[in-house]
């Protein structure tokens, strides 16, 4: 039986980038949900249209926060599935640095996308309500942009495929 041989070409980045991106969105979404929605209780899903000022409206916001977490969980699960698939592809790049970079970019991109849609366009909630809501929303976008830049810098390095190509068919003497 022939041994597998080292791959010598760069791997395709797409599979690992997509997996890391979705994992970053999911884990970043959980940070958002756990820290802002639950611990600080600033950022409830409908807090700008249904302020949680009494128990009923707080419970209604809790339901919509739960839906946000459900979407976040689905995104994370898809990211894990894509990561598993990328790990099994011989032509796909495999690099911790690329994965971490894609995850940071995903987290940042989600902050920017969610911030623009929910905070600025639809205005269903703000990072923190009150007189300085706009400043908090801008800071959230700034954090997202910084994460995208950091992730892009990390992931813009040369990477190689996992290292082993398929063994060729044994030759018949």
């Amino acid at each position: 039986m022939k041994r597998a041989t080292k791959a010598t070409r760069d791997g395709r980045r797409g599979p690992l980038l997509a997996a890391g991106f979705l994992l970053g969105v999911g884990l970043g979404g959980f940070v958002d949900g756990i820290v802002f929605h639950q611990i600080l209780q600033w950022h409830n899903m409908l807090s700008n249209v249904l302020p949680p000022l009494d128990l009923v409206s707080a419970k209604v916001n809790m339901v919509w926060d739960g839906l946000f977490h459900a979407f976040t969980w689905i995104t994370t699960a898809v990211g894990v599935a894509l990561l598993f698939r990328a790990g099994g592809r011989l032509d796909a790049a495999w690099s911790g640095r690329l994965l971490i970079g894609a995850m940071l970019s995903g987290w940042g991109a989600f902050n920017v996308i969610e911030g623009v849609i929910d905070h600025h366009l639809l205005r269903i909630h703000h990072v923190r309500g009150g007189a300085d809501a706009f400043a908090w929303d801008l800071a959230f976008l700034g954090l997202g942009a910084a994460l995208i830049l950091a992730g892009s810098a990390l992931s813009s390095v040369p990477v190689r495929a996992p290292g082993w190509s398929r063994p060729s068919a044994p030759s018949v003497a």
Binding site: G14, V25, W64, L67, I117
Partner: protein
């Protein structure tokens, strides 16, 4: 089961359900899903656009 039945505010449940499943329910589901739809679109593009890799 008894704990679930007494809850924090059993008399709130009808009001909560009424407020969640009102005329805005589906638009709010769409609103909550929208950022995720966008990020799945970006991930789809990333999986296909091979930045820097060899063909």
């Amino acid at each position: 089961m008894a704990v679930f039945a007494i809850g924090a505010c059993p008399e709130c449940r009808a009001a909560v359900l009424e407020s969640v499943f009102d005329a805005h329910f589906w638009p709010r589901v769409a609103t909550a899903a929208l950022p995720f739809v966008v990020v799945f679109g970006v991930a789809w593009l990333l999986a296909r656009v091979d930045l820097g890799g060899s063909p």
